[in-house]
């Protein structure tokens, strides 16, 4: 079974012509067989006809002479018949009397007068049943009938060398003809198939060359005449575009996330630093005004110390709060607000409508880690946004019940294909193609011991993620 996998490894542009050639050879073989069989039948019929004509003609002519046992007359008739008939065909004709003694033969030296005819009847067939056997000489034996009575026997040797040669010639011609025709058609088939499969080749090379970044195929290379292929390539192009825009979105999101963190840091700083700053400035003024009053200076210095300590605490707290690397942090409502900030531009770019329904404070109780939940929700949102397309609708519902976090993402896209569902819901090997985000969602949810449900209702795709609470993870 080794050659089969090897054959499978061949490019499709070679495999299809090979299969075509194989079928052509099979067809040629079957056609040749049927031609040879027909030829065999024609030759047999011709042979049988010749034998019958010969025997019947001789019977009519020989009757009286055989009755009279007239050796010369019988010989004369046989000899003249030989030159009249297909002389090449009739090698030897022997006429015997009732007792099986040879009366005369076209070659009396081979079949002398008076000898027994029996030895010439070995392997002889009746004229009706004579068939090509591959032997260049065939024997036919028939009773010699005259006036309804058998008066002797006719044995004839037919030379079928020419028929065998004809058969051989036909076989050779068929062989060479079929070989040439097959080669020609296989070549033509290869050209045609190679032409037909050129877009597939382009697709394959585009995917091979991509090195992880699939590149789209030019519109001019899409075969509009072949709806299947054209759809396939269009899908591929859309997929590559989706992958690109996704990567772009992720890049933009990362950037925005940095800006958002920076903004929050700035406002926190302004707020927390500004408050004690007034008191500190007052204390400084007091010290300047009452520098000669040690109690006041001391009180003001203490105040300033407390204020600065507070500032130090605030700075520390802000740094803790706004650390960019938030691994290990628990989920908070702000995380979801961040996601909204991040996702809204995506929605806007596709003129989509966003239903954002996050119950306030709903996330506070779950103790779930922020990073994976953010990843899950963001991926689901990005997928939903891509699926919904231009002017579509995307929705997010986040609720908490029985300590579990329920996240439901909806979109008005065409729905998830089987391959996407396999990525999202199953743990089997990754099917080929894009949509890595769905598998990431699946893996993250699994890691959090959660569940994913998929539902298609009223032209909407619902993906529901249920995440159980984390013990002791209360924020």
């Amino acid at each position: 079974m080794r050659p089969l996998p090897r054959f499978r490894n061949l490019p499709v542009t070679l495999r299809v012509p090979l299969v075509t050639a194989g079928l052509m050879i099979l067809l040629g073989f079957l056609a040749s067989q049927s031609v040879l069989s027909a030829l065999g039948k024609v030759q047999d019929a011709r042979l049988s006809e010749t034998a019958k004509l010969h025997v019947e003609g001789l019977s009519v002519a020989l009757g009286p002479s055989v009755l009279r046992q007239d050796v010369w007359e019988v010989y004369d008739i046989l000899d003249r018949a030989r030159s009249t008939y297909d002389g090449q065909r009739l090698l030897l004709s022997i006429v015997a009397d009732e007792r099986g003694r040879i009366l005369a033969a076209t070659d009396p030296r081979r079949a002398p007068v008076g000898e027994a005819v029996a030895e010439f009847e070995v392997g002889a067939a009746p004229p009706d049943a004579v068939r090509m056997t591959g032997d260049p000489v065939l024997r036919v034996a028939a009773p010699l009938l005259f006036q309804g009575r058998q008066i002797g026997q006719i044995v004839t040797e037919l030379d079928v060398t020419d028929l065998l040669a004809e058969r051989r010639n036909v076989s050779m011609w068929l062989l060479f003809g079929n070989a040439a025709a097959t080669a020609l058609l296989a070549f033509g088939g290869w050209l045609a198939v190679a032409r037909i499969l050129r877009p597939v080749g382009a697709l394959v090379s585009a995917m091979d060359d991509s090195k992880g970044a699939p590149r789209p195929i030019a519109e001019t290379d899409i075969p509009r005449g072949d709806p299947g292929l054209s759809r396939l390539i269009s899908t591929y192009n859309r997929m590559t575009t989706a992958v690109e825009s996704r990567a772009e979105a992720e890049r933009r999101l990362a950037e925005r996330e940095r800006f958002v963190s920076l903004g929050r840091l700035s406002s926190s700083l302004a707020h927390e630093v500004n408050n004690p700053l007034g008191g500190l400035l007052n204390a400084a003024d007091t010290i300047l005004s009452y520098s000669d009053r040690p109690e006041v200076v001391r009180q003001s210095a203490e105040l300033m110390q407390r204020g600065l300590s507070h500032l130090r605490d605030v700075t520390r707290a802000i740094l803790d709060e706004n650390r960019l690397d938030r691994v290990g942090q628990t989920l908070r409502p702000e995380d979801l607000e961040d996601l909204k900030l991040l996702f809204e531009p995506e929605v806007a770019s596709r003129a989509q409508k966003l239903h954002w329904n996050v119950r306030p404070g709903s996330t506070g109780m779950t103790g779930l880690p922020a990073a994976p939940v953010r990843q899950i929700v963001l991926n689901l949102l990005l997928n939903a946004g891509a699926a919904a397309g231009q002017h579509g609708q995307v929705g997010l519902d986040v609720t908490v019940g029985e300590g579990k976090l329920f996240v439901e993402v909806t979109d008005t896209g065409p729905g998830l294909g089987q391959a996407d569902l396999d990525r999202l819901l199953a743990s089997g090997p990754l099917p080929p193609g894009g949509g890595v985000g769905l598998r990431l969602v699946h893996d993250l949810v699994s890691r959090l011991d959660g569940e994913i449900h998929h539902e298609r209702m009223k032209d909407r795709t619902h993906v529901r993620v249920v995440l159980p609470p984390k013990d002791g993870g209360h924020a």
Binding site: V71, W72, Y75, D79, D107
Partner: protein, 286 residues
């Protein structure tokens, strides 16, 4: 001497033709019936046609050439009057010497004589009749001089008959058939008219090349043209005789003679057939 006689005869024939016409035998619409035998190249339609045309021209009367298979049939037809004249063999002529008369004797290679050949296959080692004992033999006709009488009388001289000497005897009723029989291997040997064998050797060299002559007889009287003795004075028979004798003087006649490989036809004499008569005597044991 011969040519002078022939010229005279020709003159007589030429003068007689209008005369016999005037006598009125042509009033009978029945054509003159002239029988042929397999003595010569009986399968050649061109020969028969040329001979018929030449004789008809010479006689000034339509002539029908009748072919018969055997000399016996010819003799019977001649005697019962169903044919008017015939080209037969010296042997049957002598058998019916009392009833038949000569119209003419063909001249072959300058003489009205021919030989009988004993032939065998080309590769046969036999060199004499005695070597052929126990083999199959082909005769032409039991009433043929060259095709039977010569060999039979040779055997009779040794006190044997063909049936005893040969394992099998067949009659082919044609000298050409004797050659075919020997050439094809049907019989080991054959008795054939030397004139026919020679004519065949130029007409069908492939056939005669498969045979060879091992014994040639003495020269004997050439197969003659005969008519019933009691009808020799009939104008038609006389016209036929003069036409036969005058063949070599007309272009058509010469053409027919050429096809027959003959020089002319001369009146002939009974003495020509003395050799045959002698062999007949041997055969009959006299």
């Amino acid at each position: 001497m011969k040519s002078t006689r022939r010229a005279v005869l020709m003159g007589v024939a030429a003068m007689a033709a209008p005369f016999v016409s005037a006598r009125g035998w042509t009033q009978s619409p029945a054509p003159f019936r002239f029988a042929l035998t397999p003595v010569f190249l009986d399968n050649d339609a061109a020969v028969i046609s040329a001979l018929r045309a030449a004789l008809a021209e010479g006689m000034g009367h339509d002539i029908e050439l009748v072919q018969r298979r055997t000399y016996q049939e010819i003799s019977g037809a001649l005697l019962d009057g169903s044919v008017d004249a015939a080209w037969t063999c010296g042997y049957p002529y002598l058998q019916h010497r009392a009833e038949l008369s000569l119209l003419g004797v063909p001249v072959w290679r300058g003489r009205p004589l021919y030989q009988s050949y004993l032939i065998v296959a080309q590769d046969d080692p036999a060199t004499a009749l005695s070597d052929l004992r126990g083999g199959a033999h082909a005769f032409s006709d039991p009433d043929s001089n060259s095709g039977f009488l010569v060999t039979a009388s040779d055997l009779a001289r040794d006190g044997q008959t063909p049936d005893q000497f040969f394992s099998r005897v067949i009659f082919t009723y044609g000298h050409r058939n004797v050659v075919r029989s020997v050439a094809g291997g049907l019989t080991r040997s054959g008795s054939v008219d030397g004139y026919v064998w020679e004519a065949l050797s130029s007409a069908e060299p492939n056939l005669t090349a498969r045979t060879k002559v091992i014994v040639r007889s003495e020269w004997l009287g050439f197969p003659p043209m005969v008519a019933r003795a009691d009808r020799m004075d009939e104008p038609s028979v006389m016209a036929c005789k003069s036409a036969l004798l005058g063949l070599s003087t007309t272009p058509q006649g010469r053409e027919a003679l050429k096809l027959l490989s003959l020089d002319a036809i001369e009146p002939g004499e009974d003495a020509l057939f003395d050799g045959i008569a002698a062999r007949m005597a041997v055969l009959s044991g006299r």
